[in-house]
């Protein structure tokens, strides 16, 4: 595992050459994919690093999305908007993500989890477009920090109780009294805010909208999954308390997902729409995780991968439109099939991926999650049914509003997609649709 960390750190020395970083990230993905093709349940151990299959899946996802981020941010290179600084920030973010997903020690996981915030903040503040990005950065930073300091306290309590913070050697908190409940809440609140769940989701639309395309893609693609990954690693430490309180997380996340889906139908900003749809998807992920069964965990991981690819691709598309037309508003970006018919293919394919159409892995994950949550409580059928229905509704709204109909009169013609843009979108879409034939690669355990 250290070889990838070193490759990442040493790439920072080559940031003067944009093309070199772009190529090397793809090379890193290739080498890693060969590295993860084995039977061992845990591998790459050493220096409190190592991963089981769940870690492999998410490391692969983060490296892949980072490679696509660099390919999609050509405008920073073209306008010479400090490209080497941009690459350094992105590589540091990738380093933090690699350390987070491959940590076998809870403290290393926590430190890298927190340190992934700083490059994201620098990305938003440094390369964002609008003055609102200051508030967006503040929201993101303080929401996450406020929620995760209790996590530090609870990890230190585990250390003083058990003597070790190595994953798997930490004692479970068997009892279910009030103190254990507070402990449980402090531990998982950080991940619930990161996911995000409905009531603590306000940072997400702001951060996604104000970030540059790289920031949006990385945020939607990988950083939200940090919350899910953390939950998987931490939830089993509180079996009794979780059984008592999972109803709260399921209710809030599913109902919140439904409410947020309604809000999606009212959005005018494309990026804001995609950001709210991320909240809805992650609400379903949270409910599946907290239900504590095999189906829920598997569905959650599969949706995390699928959503990472799909939302990241949609943000990439929104940025392509923004680069050409100068606006993210659906009132300006309508009738795009008249201007950019070739991009309409990718709008369609990624939109249907967002609403869990076959044969995307989103469908597999959503079916697994529906199975798990409905088996936990039949009443949740209503919420989940509304969630799935409205996810299709707002995705169709976004697609139809942006592509069909008459175009905005003050628009001129624009390029219908360069080869590099097509490549980036295709590299988003192909794993999303083709991984269904080898789902053993994305299932965390069986």
């Amino acid at each position: 595992m250290l070889k990838f960390i070193f490759m990442n750190i040493l790439l920072i020395a080559f940031v003067k050459e944009w093309w070199f970083i772009q190529i090397s990230l793809f090379l890193m993905c290739f080498i890693f994919s060969c590295f993860m093709g084995h039977d061992f349940s845990v591998s790459g151990l050493g220096l409190s690093l190592g991963s089981d299959h769940l870690g492999f899946i998410l490391i692969m996802l983060s490296m892949w999305i980072m490679a696509l981020v660099i390919c999609a941010s050509q405008s920073i290179k073209k306008t010479n908007n400090s490209p080497s600084g941009f690459l350094v920030v992105n590589l540091l973010l990738l380093l933090a993500l690699l350390l987070t997903f491959s940590a076998t020690d809870y403290l290393l996981f926590y430190i890298s989890f927190e340190s992934s915030l700083i490059p994201t903040l620098i990305l938003i503040l440094g390369w964002g477009y609008q003055p609102e990005r200051i508030q967006a950065g503040v929201y993101m930073l303080f929401y996450t920090l406020f929620a995760s300091l209790p996590l530090l306290v609870s990890l230190l309590s585990f250390y003083s109780l058990g003597g070790s913070l190595t994953m798997g050697l930490v004692p479970c908190a068997e009892s279910s009294n009030f103190i254990t409940f507070m402990w449980y809440f402090c531990t998982i609140f950080a991940f619930v805010v990161k996911l995000p769940m409905y009531l603590v989701h306000l940072w997400l639309p702001k951060a996604h909208v104000e970030a540059p395309v790289a920031g949006s893609m990385i945020l939607a693609g990988v950083l939200l999954k940090l919350g899910g990954y953390g939950l998987i690693r931490v939830l089993f430490l509180f079996p009794e308390v979780n059984k008592m309180f999972s109803w709260f997380w399921v209710s809030v996340s599913i109902l919140g997902g439904v409410i947020v889906s309604f809000m999606c139908l009212r959005q005018v900003d494309i990026k804001s729409l995609i950001a709210y749809s991320s909240v809805a998807h992650m609400g379903l992920v949270l409910s599946g995780l907290v239900v504590f069964g095999w189906w829920g965990q598997t569905g959650a991981v599969v949706i995390m991968v699928g959503h990472g690819l799909c939302s990241s691709g949609l943000f990439c598309l929104a940025n392509m439109v923004y680069e050409r037309l100068g606006s993210r508003s659906l009132l300006v970006n309508k009738g795009l099939l008249n201007f950019m018919p070739s991009l309409g293919l990718w709008w369609f394919l990624l939109s249907i991926g967002n609403m869990a159409a076959p044969p995307t892995i989103n469908l597999l994950g959503e079916i697994s999650l529906i199975l798990s949550v409905v088996s936990w409580s039949k009443l949740s059928m209503f919420g989940i049914g509304l969630l799935s229905f409205f996810s299709a509704a707002y995705t169709l709204y976004m697609y139809s509003m942006s592509q069909h109909g008459l175009f905005f009169n003050s628009l001129f013609s624009c390029c219908s997609g360069k080869v590099s843009e097509y490549l980036v979108l295709m590299l988003h879409w192909l794993p999303l649709n083709v991984l269904i034939v080898k789902t053993a690669m994305i299932l965390p355990s069986f």
Binding site: F26, L27, K438, A440, M441
Partner: protein
């Protein structure tokens, strides 16, 4: 066997003779240099127009002359031999860099990451022991059918092997089924 020169198809490696190898290498070189042709642009370009109308209009006419790059000849107009090129999207300054980067990105991104990785993943032998587990399952089913045991036993372990504590030891412990 190799076709006429100038036909752009994949050169085939042949082990017949040294001259054939040289021809292969030359053709490889020619294909690779097709777009990176800065060195091969003609210094002198002959232009012959086919218009038969009188050359007394207001529009700019290109005279039937030898246009030289090095000196600033002023006939009617100088013609640039630089073709308009449409960038692939990888570099907007240099066609050579754009082309090279396009090839590199597609090789590393598609050929390596999608095709080769897909191939490796598809043909991984018994990945995560799924085939083994299914075989073992079928073998166990066959064993149980032969012995007449139930295929899925409600008791995972035989009851007589489990030692349960007495009622005194249990006391007030909650029993969850």
């Amino acid at each position: 066997m190799f076709g006429p020169p100038g036909v752009s198809h994949l050169p085939q490696v042949c082990f017949h003779s040294c001259s054939a190898k040289m021809a292969t290498i030359t053709r490889l070189g020619r294909t690779a240099l097709r777009l990176n042709n800065v060195l091969f642009r003609p210094r002198v370009l002959r232009i012959a127009t086919i218009s038969t109308s009188k050359k007394n209009k207001d529009t700019i006419t290109i005279s039937d002359a030898v246009v030289d790059h090095g000196k600033t000849k002023t006939e009617e107009a100088t013609v640039e031999t630089k073709k308009n090129w449409i960038s692939w999207g990888f570099s907007y300054e240099s066609e050579v860099k754009d082309n090279t980067l396009m090839h590199l990105t597609f090789f590393f991104g598609v050929t390596l990451c999608l095709v080769t990785t897909g191939f490796v993943w598809t043909y991984l032998p018994d990945f995560r022991m799924m085939d083994w587990a299914q075989r073992e399952g079928y073998l166990e089913l066959r064993r149980r059918e032969e012995l007449g045991l139930p295929l899925i036993d409600p008791n995972l372990i035989a009851i007589d092997k489990i030692e349960m504590p007495d009622d005194e030891e249990l006391g007030n412990t909650e029993i969850i089924i």
